[in-house]
Structure formats: structure tokens, C-alpha cells
Subunit: 320 residues, 2 copies
């Protein structure tokens, strides 16, 4: 399905893959190996696709869009490498993580190298507004993650705090992709705002679905263990709804109070699966996707706009 | 002594401190607390001083030099925060580390936030060459650190490999400071090269002295435990000379072969202290400082040049 959606930019996504491969070609063999492991094909490449699709409405100039598309994927990879080190995760995209194979120290340093590389690529856009936006987005992501770390195993979290958190953690990177694609193609300010809004709303929906799949997906589909949010003490929308529905006593509350963690994670997942909570969460995600599509209404109707609309649909329907 | 050296830029270093304090003023109280802890006064602030002093030969424009000076200090701090997490260090500058007080996950994320902030500040220079140089320097640092991590507890390391390693780990950040100061003050290309060379040679000397002090200093002077390089399995110049001098059997070899680590660290430190190795290492550092001063010869003679010459002298004489 992604293949059809990416159709208008398929050739250029191939160029992004080539750039990612060339990033792995460094003199230092260990670094080269770690880069190849982390940047290997197999990801959905949604972020570079968003840069390119967003660039298709006005002056589509690959000399700026290509480094930007590559940079957002590398920034995303850097955050995953650091996240896995932080969470001590063993598996990602069905493969062992950097920290699992080479140790946490290497994961921190590889993530740092990737951050530097992403900055270097963004400099190739020669656009100071995009360069600044890129830096600020990364600050928002790290501060969002810090916020999550400090609120781990805290039951007093509202739906609004959750939305704010995933806005900082996920949505801002997707809106960086769409906003920068627009800026780099000389889009008028209203269109920049529209594409930024699309990226933000798509990002919120994307993360809500991720959080649902952590309850109802399988490790096989996801390429990583499920139930991991609860294990890390992260309250996501399904867990918040579960707490609202059973305020007195429930497995999430018991788990966060450190009672028999594994058993309570399984019970919480079962409870979410066998209730209307899943459906309710999907309805929230769908609302954000509808809002995302609405953001596109003032843009010229072209193949790219149709792809972005289909992408919003895909984000809710995906199983991984 | 640093006070006298910094005299030509003393007022502007106060502005750097003010900028660093304003970086700590964020809405999120935990982040604010962590930033204040890591950016607190007490460091030598050599890197921002180098930016400012290097900017004093031509068009000294604080609107570019101030964000740059702040950015290099923040980048430096970010690498320290990540290093401490990697090495599981408990003390830095006489204070407990971020990882010690708040945990390793927070240290990784705070380091990331600082990296983003440094990049945002560099964007304020509005100079694409400096922006690119900044990104590349950080890649060199991370790849240098990765190199160090992969060569830990490896006895087969030459003096050349050591110099290459500290060039990537330390000298490149000092040369970033001097080179960017030159570029941002519109220095002619030859002066840019001269200041870059000065920064590089000063950086090599600085790191050699750091590595000597890890053998002969005291925890009280250094604000961190001594003998830490050997404990991490990092071969520095004193250890390499010791291995050369006693090729058959010596405490470094036994330590790297995992025999009674603490005892062998103490023996190695004693051996270095009571031999001419210390002197020999200082002679190497002095050579780099002489080379650094030589690099300055084509620059106009002014208070700043005199300070840079005195700084080269300070770097070898310092005890912390």
C-alpha cells in the first residue's frame, strides 16, 4: 500500500536510499558497520516521503529536498538508537538493537554521530530558516522524551498531557518534514502553514496508532516486543482510557504501583483488547487524520495531495 | 592566571555566562534544573574564550561571535554529559554528574537537548560555512569517541594512533572555536588557517596534559577521580611510554589483561610519577604549544595574540 502512496516520488526515494548508503561509507570500519546496521532498508521511510511529497506543490528542487529528506530519516534513526539505549530494548524492526549487539556506550556515540550527520545534511539546504527549524525540532523531541522519562510510572496524567507529550515526541518530526519540504520548494506562507498542520495532525494520529498497536499488535507484526509502553511506565491513550473506565482498581494502577508487573501488563492488554477502548482510540486517531486532510484543502490538487490523503488513511489502517 | 589571559574579552565572557544562564530558562522545570546543573559556572570556559580571542584580529562582531562562543561551550557540555553517562562517572568539576543524580536515561536526553540548543545558536551566526563546520566537528568528535570505545583494553596502540584519537576527541573542538572566531570576524583565509592550526596544536597539548594529570594529579585538584583512563581501558601517552619502557611485564599490561585492576592502576600511576615519563610527556605537550604559538606569527600583534600565547603556556602549567 505504501508503494502506491509513494508513487509520485518513488524514483527520488530511491535516491534517498542511495544517500543513506553513502552515509555508511566511512573510513572507520566499526562506524561503517554500525551505520549500516542502523540505516538499513526496511523502515517505512515516512519522514523522507513527507519531505518529498510536500515539496511537490511548488518549486520541486531535489538539490535541497534530497539532503533534507535524508536528514530527517537520519535524525529519526538517531532518536531511535538513543531511545533503544535508554529503554534497554533488544529488538527493533525485527533486528537486534545497537545497544544489544555492541553495548550502550556505542549506541550513545552512534546516535551522536548520526545527529552530527543529519546537521551536516541540513546545512546543504543552504536555508537558514530550515536549519534553525531542524535544531528547534530536535530540542522539542529531546525535551518531550525527558518529560516522558520524568513522568514514568506517574498515574496522574491527563489526556491533554498525553497529547502534548506525543506532539513533542513524534508529531513535531513529521511536521518538520512537511514544513521543510514546503519551505524548500518556495511555497507561499499559507501553504507552508497548511503542510505543517497536516504533518502535525498526521503525527498525532500516527503515534496514537503506535500506542494502540503496543496493546493489540503482535511482536511479529511490530518487529519489537508489545506491551513495552506499560513496561517502561509510559501512560498512553489506551491506558489513560482504561484508568478512566476503572478508576478504583485496575491492572495499570497495580502495575504502576509495582505489583507483579508482567502479569498486570498482560491483564491490561487483555482488558484493552476486549473492550471498546481500542475503538475509541482509533476514533481519536481518525479525527486527527480527518483534520490532517482538511489542512490540505487549500493546496493545489495534484498526485502528491492525493498521496498525502491516502497516507492519512494508511496511518490508521497499518498493522505495523 | 586565566583571568589575566581573558582580560581582552572579559566583558564579553560575562555576556556568554548570561547567555548560558538564559539557556536554562525553559518552561519545563526538570529540564531547567538539569540545564542549570550542567551549565553552571566553574568550568574554565576555554572554548568560548578561544572564539572571542580569535575574533579580535579583524571585524569583531558580537552579534555572531556571542552565539558561536555560547554554542561551543554547550556542545562541549553535551559531550561531557554523554561521556559521563558512557563511563558511568560519578563526579565532574567536583559535583555529582547528571547520570549519577538523575540516571543515565536523563543524561542521554539532556545531552541531546544541549546538542539541539548548540545547533540553534550556531544558526544565529547566519554563516553556512560555520554551520557546516560545526556539524562536521561534532561528527569527528563522536567518531573519535567511538574509536576510543572500540579500542578500549587493546594494548596494540601506537603513539600515532593516540595522537589521531585525541585530535578527533579534543583538538578538533578547540580548532572549531578558533577557526569559527576567525571566519566570523571576516579574517583573510591565511589567518583562518593560522588560527585553526593554533587551536589544533593547543588542543593536542591540552589533552596530553589532561592525560598526564590523570596519572599525577589528585582528585581534589581535578574535581574528578584520577586514574580513570586506565580504569576505562584507554591508553594515553603516559601509558604508551610505560609500555614502551617495560615491554615484557608491567602493571598496564596486567591491568589490560584483567588482573587485579585497582592494584595495577595504582602501580602504574606510581611508576609514571617516579620516572621521567611525566617529563617526557610534558616535553611533547610543550612542543605542540610552541607549534601553536608559531601558528600565530603571521597575525597582527595585539592584546589578543598575547593572550593566546599566554594561554598556550597556561595549558602546560595548569594543575586542573
Amino acid at each position: 500500500m505504501l508503494r502506491t502512496i509513494y508513487e509520485p516520488i518513488q524514483e527520488d526515494l530511491v535516491k534517498v536510499e542511495a544517500r543513506l548508503r553513502s552515509v555508511c561509507e566511512v573510513d572507520f570500519p566499526w562506524l561503517s558497520k554500525l551505520l549500516a546496521h542502523s540505516l538499513k532498508e526496511g523502515g517505512k521511510r515516512i519522514r523522507p516521503a513527507l519531505v518529498l511529497l510536500s515539496g511537490k506543490f511548488y518549486d520541486y528542487d531535489l538539490s535541497y529536498l534530497l539532503p533534507m529528506a535524508t536528514a530527517v530519516e537520519i535524525l529519526h534513526t538517531a532518536t531511535l538508537v538513543h531511545d533503544d539505549a535508554i529503554d534497554n530494548s533488544a529488538v527493533r524492526r525485527g533486528r537486534p538493537t545497537i545497544n544489544k549487539v555492541w553495548g550502550e556506550d556505542k549506541a550513545i556515540l552512534l546516535g551522536d554521530y548520526l545527529l552530527g550527520k543529519s546537521k551536516e545534511l541540513v546545512a546543504d539546504t543552504q536555508n537558514l530558516r530550515v536549519i534553525r527549524l531542524f535544531a528547534q525540532t530536535f530540542m522539542t523531541i529531546s525535551s518531550g522524551e525527558l518529560n516522558q522519562a520524568f513522568s514514568a510510572f506517574n498515574l496522574e496524567q491527563t489526556r491533554e498531557q498525553y497529547l502534548q507529550r506525543i506532539s513533542g515526541k513524534t508529531a513535531c518530526l513529521l511536521s518538520l518534514a512537511t514544513e521543510s519540504g514546503a519551505i524548500l520548494s518556495q511555497a507561499p506562507e499559507k501553504s507552508v502553514e497548511a503542510l505543517k498542520g497536516y504533518g502535525h495532525n498526521l503525527g498525532i494520529a500516527f503515534q496514537i496508532v503506535d500506542d494502540i498497536l503496543d496493546f493489540i499488535g503482535t511482536e511479529e507484526e511490530m518487529g519489537k516486543p508489545v506491551g513495552s509502553d506499560l513496561a517502561q511506565g509510559t501512560l498512553t491513550l489506551p491506558a489513560i482510557l482504561l484508568l478512566e473506565r476503572y478508576p478504583e482498581d485496575n491492572p495499570v494502577r497495580r502495575l504502576f504501583q509495582n505489583e507483579d508487573r508482567q502479569r498486570n501488563i498482560e491483564l491490561a492488554m487483555e482488558l484493552v483488547r476486549n473492550s471498546s477502548i481500542t475503538e475509541e482510540c482509533y476514533a481519536v486517531a481518525s479525527d486527527y487524520c480527518a483534520q490532517a486532510c482538511h489542512n490540505l484543502s487549500l493546496l493545489p490538487d495534484n498526485a502528491s495531495r492525493r498521496s498525502l490523503i491516502k497516507l492519512a488513511d494508511y496511518v490508521v489502517k497499518r498493522r505495523k
